[in-house]
């Protein structure tokens, strides 16, 4: 009864759902690629700023000047000075290095640990698998800031311990993602094909399984960098992260938290700096998720 002709006519007639969703899908794909490029450019901009800070003609971010305390933005100090007379612009820019470094190093460590644990879980047999996954459950039951507080209480404050604290409680999500991703890639035909062609286990893992299993980790990892930057800012805000007089946005906010009335720029600028930086990483993570998702074909898919 249903000839192919009628099927196509009903489904592909102008305005029909199928046709519409295909067009919308292509549009969504194109706009998500544009978003990805824009987000990548913004992250590259951030990295470029952070790298070029030592080369810029900035004032000393640490030298105090008690003759010029909490001055509003003016020609000498474009973004004003803080409570110790330090140049706010210089401190903001130097602090961007701290934030990016913490984000990249802490998440890099968590990613590495997650790949090792997730890979071991996927390859090590059911005993290793259930042990590692229960470990992941245990670590996931700590809200990250709380776990970090425990680590900081034991190891003491400081930037290096911020790396450790974030990585210590950050690895389980990467491990879970990598494990499930490896398990699904291992089942694919081209892995079997490589095995038939005589490739060694190591070669199959490093050439085929590893690169193809990293996709979900990339988008989650990008967002996690934003999360790590927020965590560092939070820890520094409560004096358990980066220590004085080193510049960190969280620390700058905590030093001037009582100054909103008199010198709002001291509070607003570091706050905006954190928000914008984290936002850029969230955007990149989101754009990467959409661009890398092979099933992203409709405007409703997120």
């Amino acid at each position: 009864m249903d000839s192919p002709g009628t099927y196509l006519e009903t489904n592909l007639a102008p305005g029909s759902a199928l046709l519409e969703s295909n067009v919308a899908g292509r549009q969504a794909k194109r706009s998500s690629n544009r978003l990805l490029v824009a987000a990548l450019l913004m992250v590259m901009g951030l990295v470029l700023i952070a790298l070029s800070v030592p080369l810029l003609p900035l004032q000393d971010p640490i030298a105090t000047d008690y003759d010029h305390m909490a001055e509003p933005p003016a020609a000498g100090h474009l973004l004003g000075t803080d409570l110790h007379g330090r140049d706010q612009l210089s401190r903001l820019l130097w602090a961007s290095r701290t934030s990016l470094l913490v984000g990249v190093v802490a998440i890099g460590l968590a990613l590495l640990a997650g790949i090792i644990a997730g890979g071991a879980a996927a390859y090590g047999g059911s005993l290793v698998d259930s042990f590692l996954m229960r470990m992941a459950d245990i670590f996931l039951s700590f809200p990250i800031i709380l776990g970090a507080i425990a680590i900081m209480a034991v190891l003491g404050p400081g930037r290096r311990n911020v790396f450790i604290a974030i990585a210590f409680f950050g690895w389980p999500v990467f491990a879970r993602l990598f494990r499930s991703s490896v398990l699904s890639v291992k089942k694919l035909n081209y892995i079997a094909a490589a095995r038939v062609l005589g490739a060694s286990d190591a070669r199959i893992f490093f050439r085929h399984v590893l690169p193809n299993s990293l996709t979900p980790l990339v988008s989650y990892g990008t967002m996690a960098v934003g999360g790590a930057i927020l965590a560092e800012a939070g820890l520094s805000f409560i004096n358990l992260g980066v220590q004085r007089p080193n510049p960190s946005w969280g620390l700058m906010l905590s030093e001037s938290m009582g100054m909103f009335e008199q010198s709002p720029w001291l509070v607003i600028l570091p706050g905006v700096a954190i928000t914008v930086t984290v936002l850029i990483f969230i955007l990149l993570g989101d754009a990467a998720t959409r661009a890398l998702d092979p099933f992203n074909s409709g405007p409703e898919t997120r």
């Binding site: 229960r134 470990m135 459950d137 245990i138 670590f139 039951s141 700590f142 809200p143 990250i144 800031i145 709380l146 776990g147 507080i149 425990a150 680590i151 900081m152 209480a153 034991v154 190891l155 003491g156 934003g226 927020l230 800012a233 939070g234 805000f237 409560i238 004096n239 358990l240 969280g250 906010l253 905590s254 938290m257 909103f260 009335e261 709002p264 509070v267 570091p270 706050g271 954190i274 928000t275 914008v276 984290v278 936002l279 969230i282 955007l283 989101d286 409703e300 997120r302």
Partner: protein, 316 residues
């Protein structure tokens, strides 16, 4: 899985996680403390005799596995140790500060439930591109805003400038004092709840039973309220349960900004003075509450919804 086996399975899993948590904290304290706990407790100027006495009292002269046993048997008697700074039992200090944190957390949880789900419903019913774009953008900003910055800005606007809300403290449990900290704490999670409830609700609204309901003459919003909402609620409920823990732990910075006398702020002061038993005790209490609440929600949902028992639930 039959209901009873499912419950047993979840309880066993909870027990494993709790024992693991205690073990992780035990290892954190005993392997990572530079020097040893007695030195940290008594400070740098303690006499060797005093150190030896305390080491013996704390069982530090025993081998690791024996210390682990002692630690567990103490916990079994609900003994969390003694605070280095306050010289009081950790349990009683925690009990003093827990109510304020629960009060704040529950208020924030209610806010994010109401506004997050409301936001998600609005997006499901009004399928306008512009509203969607504005929501995605503002949600991302809420996620990126550091809690302490949001708190300071809200304090400035509503307390310093407009003078309509108190700036900090509990004001003797005055509900007005609760508004700013609760909003601050709930902001980021509200955006997440909104996104999850929108996608879960929209997916439910595409199902054929909604089409059938619409064919019977229900409007979209009636169909949503009477049918789709209930069926789309499982992922939101799971997320809310997880959020309860996130909020409990995340309340720390909010409590500090608003001088809220809760467990988080107390833990912070303890961490600053490196009062290890107090920090570890309150982290343990918060994590335990979190794990119990999570398991409880899972069990309730597994009981109500056979799909969860079969492993189709968000938590697997």
């Amino acid at each position: 899985m039959p209901p009873n086996r499912f419950i047993l399975h979840r309880l066993l899993q909870m027990l494993v996680v709790l024992i693991g948590t205690v073990t992780v904290l035990f290892l954190v304290i005993y392997l990572m403390v530079p020097g040893d706990a007695a030195q940290v407790a008594l400070g740098d100027h303690a006499t060797p005799e005093a150190l030896d006495t305390l080491r013996h009292e704390l069982g530090l002269d025993q081998p690791l596995w024996k210390q682990y046993g002692i630690y567990f048997s103490r916990l079994a008697h609900l003994d969390l140790g003694t605070s280095y700074e306050l010289k009081r039992s950790v349990g009683s200090i925690i009990l003093d500060h827990l109510p304020a944190t629960i009060y704040l957390t529950v208020a924030a949880l209610i806010l994010e439930t109401v506004f997050g789900i409301g936001w998600g419903m609005l997006l499901t019913l009004r399928r306008s591109r512009r509203l969607r774009a504005i929501s995605v953008a503002s949600g991302a900003v809420l996620l990126a805003l550091p809690v302490f910055f949001l708190g300071l800005v809200l304090q400035y606007i509503f307390a310093s400038r407009l003078g309509i809300l108190p700036i900090s403290g509990t004001g003797g449990w005055n509900p007005l004092n609760l508004i700013l900290p609760a909003v601050t704490l709930a902001a980021a999670q509200t955006a997440i709840i909104a996104a999850v409830s929108r996608s879960s609700l929209s997916a439910e609204m595409e199902k054929s039973y909604i089409l059938a309901a619409r064919a019977r003459g229900l409007t979209r919003s009636q169909a949503m309220w009477r049918h789709a909402f209930r069926n789309s609620f499982a992922p939101v409920a799971t997320l809310l349960a997880i959020d309860f823990g996130t909020l409990l732990g995340g309340a720390m910075i909010t409590e500090i900004v608003f001088s809220w006398p809760g467990l988080g702020r107390m833990t912070y002061f303890a961490a600053e003075s490196r009062d290890v038993p107090l920090v570890v005790g309150s982290v343990l209490v918060l994590v335990t509450i979190f794990v119990i609440v999570n398991t409880g929600v899972d069990i309730i949902y597994g009981w109500l919804d056979p799909r969860v028992r079969a492993g189709e639930g968000v938590n697997g």
